[in-house]
Structures are given as structure tokens and as C-alpha cells.
Symmetry: C2
């Protein structure tokens, strides 16, 4: 059973999640073996290898947990956080711990083991983005959850444990520390300026132009001014909205288009890089005394894509600073000028 | 010229340090080429390839910047922070930046290109640890510096750019964010309990025993309760002292012994792992009105060693949480029971 342990000095929560056999792999300095379609639990025909599906995009004639699906959503068999039980905060000698409670779902994005996200056509992107929305809408009903994070690990360097293309969703009973800092930063700015910081960034970056990658009617992609990593890319909706769940049907195809464009550019520029994609959306809001809490209307949902090109050094681990050898102006120029198709 | 840019949302400083040709390597998805003694700037005979030495452990008959040295200290040719100039804080449109000012030195630990730290004999460790002390004592005299971080990157996975074994020192004009959190955590505990949190941890871990790796008269090595990474190892001095610089001559050989023991254990257990070593010492103190500032006497210097065995995932990048698949109790038991020699 995994548990959350609190760092006694800086009060950061660590998830200790012992995985059967993982330590033994580390001791023998082995990597996870590469997966083939034959032993991949995410491939069609292997539905019995996963936990039963939560939802699937499949013809109505095809029964659950059988082949025929196009997108499939399952609970993670080895979840970071477990859905059953209580937090059960308690002391552990001079330390503090609690159970690692939450939800951890896996969205299998395609039945094709080899297909990467940059290869999806627009209909697949739209269906996937709609599936994200549906899962967020469903998970936010659980009163235990405060925050829902959606992320994708592409490649072992990016922490992927399965080669088959997938997205993960984790719902947490507390708002994670970094998310809280981002929410607080946006709120402080809103109080100070009476404007959304993300809206201001879009306006400024459009005028400045040096860090722009691509835009369409509804979305804006750029390399942020204080990029932590080379080729760090953000995609922001132009319409101010704290919650991804509020995305409109017509915006889904705009988002599909810009996501495809950005991933194609990164793939061409960096030769099919490994990357992490993270979605930041507003925290789960609750009806309180008949009113929706509006405190978090100062947030603006967005996507961050970070290619894993460089390694952190002791300086970065030790200080919390990041050193980026590629200026975002240089990265954006390169990505902007890529010729597609 | 590298610059510090402030993240407009969470106020984190990022170092944008464009390195000649680095982006081109990333675009071609190339790795840094492996270095041989023939083209290694840290090997004896190649002193002309580095910036002139600051200090070297060498026979008095051998002139500076020639072979014959045993340990050699140079300014980093490609420094993270530059020694010349002013911080020069200024606006950059809606953003904020300043010059990346500081010191960045490299300690070449051995003349032997192939020798790794775990292979050093006790005299080499003692000389190296004394060199650390001397550099910290010297750098703290510069009134511009507020914090001095000492770290080692072993292997490309740990961010090393040179294969030849070396340590780096970075002196910064501001106390880095993570260091500030650690100092604040220790201070808050001290105010609350009127005891040092690190002294309390040593006492508790000795009694508990499950996370102990090794100890000698002056030092204590263990896997911390809220370990971020598998086999994370801390070495603490038993004598409470905020500053590494105050280490006594007799303690240097105790520290050499425990460092050698810990590195041998990690090497045996994990098959010569890549790792980061970071030293946290108290911030630079200044005489003010004739008194030393004593505010930071609640700190307790220590070393952290983190093998680079796992990759961070989008969940970790997105939340600031860490997921550790190996409980520290399991790691410590394994390291404790390793038979040396």
C-alpha cells in the first residue's frame, strides 16, 4: 500500500509507492524491458490484462472489455493513488504520513501500438480531447477530490512505463504544492492588476512576436519567457476560462489543430523527442451555500509541453533553479519556421 | 551573456544560459560526444585548455598551470553565473530579468581520467574535503555572495558535461529558493521545539534503526524518511554546526571514511550508478555592527547523495510531488548489509 510521507524540514509530501520487483530492477541496473504488441496490455485483444474499462469510444454493438474500441479508459492497475479508503493522517514517530488516496485513470489513445500522438488525425484528436473533458466532468463529482491533473508521458525519458500511447489522469484529495503556487501567482496578479495574467501574456506575446510558435482562432502557442527547458511550449485558449471542462464543441477542433501543429513541429525539429504534456485546469469547485465558489475565476487553463532534452544537474536539484541552454526566442523562431506537410 | 528571468506567475528565477552550439546538438538529437583523455581539458598536460588555475594541490617545485598537480581548481570556462558585473535588475516588457552574476568554480578531483570518486583512497578524500573547505572560506569573503552551493554530477544522467571526475562550486548573490525553504523549515522547527531538527532526526533514526546505513564517531549516514528518490542517502555530522567551513581537521578523515563507505555501498548495490551529490551549508554570514549574525545557527550542514535511477513523469513535473518506488527502509537495509572489501 503506498503512502504519503511529509518531509519534516520543508513539508513537501512524497509518495512512497513500492512496486513489486521495481527495486530489484534498480539493483540490477536494468531498464523496463521494451514492450511489443504481443505483451502490451493496452493493445486490442489484451483487454483481459487490464482492469475493467470505465468508458470506451466503440461501436454500440461491441461489448465492453473486448476489441473494437478506438479510445479506451481504464483505472491504472498500478495507481499512484488508490481510490478506496480514507486519508487517515497519523504520526510515524517524529514524522507524519497519510494514505495515498485518489484516482488514477489511463486513457489509451489509440488501438495502434506504434502510433504516436503527432501522427493522429484531427478526428482522433477531437475524440481524445472530448474524452479528457468527459473524465474531468465525471471525476469532479467525487466530493473527496480537490484537484485533477491530466498528463502524458511520451517515452521512457519522460517517465512512461508503457510504450503504447496513453494519457493519465490523477485526482488528488489536496491541491498539489506546485499547482497551489501557480493558482496563487495568478490570483495575486489578478488582485494587483484586476486582469488575468495569462490574458496579459497572450496580448504581450502577440505584440512582441519573438516567442510565438503558431496561433489559430481560439488558441495561442508560444515558448514562455522564463522557459525552464529548451523548446518548452505552452498552448493557451484565447477565451479566458479557468476550466478545461468548459471547452466548447467548436473549440475542440481548434485545439486539435494547434496541438497537432505543435507536436508536428517539435517532432520535425527535435527528431521525435520524448516529452511530457501537462494540463493545468482550475481546481474542483463546489457549491457552497447555494453559490459556486468564484475564487478561482482568475485562473486560465492551459497546456504545457516539455521535451526531455537535457538532464538536471546537482545545481538544479540543489537550488530549485533551472538552467536552460536554449533561449525561448531561439526555440520559437525555429518551431515557427518549420514547414509542415 | 546569460541572464536570470523571473517566471511571471510563480516568481521562480530561471537561468537562460545560451551555450554555443548546444541548441544545434539538441536539434540533431545528438548527445555530447564521450570524452577520451586525449581531448579532455581536465587531464594533465591539457592545462592550457582551461582557464588559469585558482589553486592546486601540487609540489611547490611545480609551476601553476602545468602537470604535476593532484587536485586542481579552476573557474568554470562555461559558467552558470559570471563573476564580473552587477545584477542590474530591469524590466523586459511585462517581465523581469537580471544579469546572472556569481562565481562558478570547478574542482578537478584527480589527475586520472578514469578514476571515479568511489575509488579514491582516504588521503585523496581528505585533501579534496579540505579543498572544499578552503574554497568556501575564500568565496565567503566576497561581499556580493549570499550562498555557496557545492555539488557533484557523476555521469551524463546526472547532468555532467565532462567525464573527468570533478566537483563544482556556485556562489550566488541571492539565496536560492529551495535552500531558503530548507533554512526556513529548520528555523521554524527550532523556534517551535528549541532544538535542531537535524539533531532530532539523527537521534530518532539511531533509535529506530530501519533507515540507518552506516555511522562512525563523527558522522551518520541514512536514507531519509521522505526520500524523493530510490536510495537517496544523507550524511550528517553528529556535532551540530551550521557551516561546513567549521569542520575540524580530525573530522575530515571521519567524513572521508563515511563518504567512501557510502559510495562503495551504492556502487556495489546499484552497479556504479550515476548520481548527484549536493552539500547544504549555512548561508554566508556577515559581521553586522560588530556581531556575527547568529540567525542561522539553527541550521546543520549535510550532504545529500541521489542516484539517478528513475525518471520524473508528467505527474511529478506537474505537481511538484515525487513518487519513489523504493521505500527508504528497503534501500537502507540493502546498503547496510553490503559486505565491503
Amino acid at each position: 500500500m503506498s503512502e504519503l510521507r511529509k518531509d519534516p524540514i520543508i513539508w513537501r509530501w512524497i509518495i512512497i509507492a513500492p512496486e513489486r520487483g521495481r527495486t530489484q530492477l534498480l539493483l540490477n541496473s536494468q531498464k523496463m524491458p521494451p514492450q511489443t504488441p504481443e505483451d502490451c496490455p493496452f493493445c486490442p485483444g489484451h483487454e483481459y490484462m487490464t482492469t475493467p474499462e470505465i468508458w470506451a469510444y466503440r461501436p454500440s454493438s461491441s461489448p465492453a472489455n473486448t476489441p473494437g474500441w478506438d479510445i479506451r479508459i481504464i483505472p491504472n492497475k498500478f495507481p499512484v493513488l488508490r481510490i478506496e479508503g480514507d486519508l487517515n493522517r497519523e504520526a510515524d514517530g517524529i514524522y507524519d504520513k497519510m494514505n495515498a488516496i485518489g484516482a488514477n485513470e489511463v486513457i489509451i489513445e489509440t488501438p495502434n501500438h506504434e502510433q504516436r500522438m503527432w501522427q493522429y488525425d484531427i478526428p482522433r484528436f477531437v475524440n481524445l480531447l472530448r474524452a479528457y473533458k468527459n473524465r474531468l466532468e465525471d471525476l469532479q463529482k467525487d466530493p473527496r477530490f480537490r484537484y485533477i491533473l491530466l498528463f502524458k508521458n511520451e517515452g521512457q525519458e519522460a517517465g512512461a512505463m508503457q510504450a503504447h500511447s496513453h494519457t493519465q489522469i490523477v485526482a488528488t484529495p489536496v491541491t498539489p504544492q506546485l499547482v497551489r503556487e501557480i493558482l496563487k501567482g495568478a490570483r495575486d496578479y489578478f488582485i494587483f492588476k484586476e486582469r488575468c495574467i495569462f490574458c496579459d501574456i497572450i496580448n504581450y506575446e502577440k505584440k512582441d512576436g519573438r516567442r510565438v510558435i503558431f496561433e489559430n482562432a481560439d488558441f495561442f502557442a508560444f515558448c514562455p519567457y522564463a522557459s525552464r527547458f529548451p523548446f518548452e511550449t505552452w498552448i493557451l485558449p484565447k477565451r479566458h476560462d479557468p476550466d478545461y471542462q468548459s471547452i466548447k464543441e467548436g473549440e475542440l477542433s481548434s485545439l486539435a489543430e494547434i496541438l497537432q501543429s505543435v507536436l508536428l513541429r517539435l517532432t520535425k525539429a527535435l527528431n521525435d523527442p520524448q516529452y511530457n504534456l501537462v494540463m493545468y485546469t482550475g481546481p474542483v469547485r463546489r457549491l457552497r451555500g447555494g453559490y459556486w465558489q468564484t475564487l478561482d475565476m482568475d485562473f486560465h487553463w492551459h497546456l504545457e509541453i516539455n521535451p526531455r532534452l537535457t538532464k538536471l544537474s546537482g545545481f538544479e536539484w540543489g537550488t530549485g533553479y533551472y538552467i536552460n541552454p536554449t533561449a525561448p526566442e531561439e526555440a520559437a523562431k525555429y518551431l515557427r519556421e518549420i514547414e509542415l506537410g
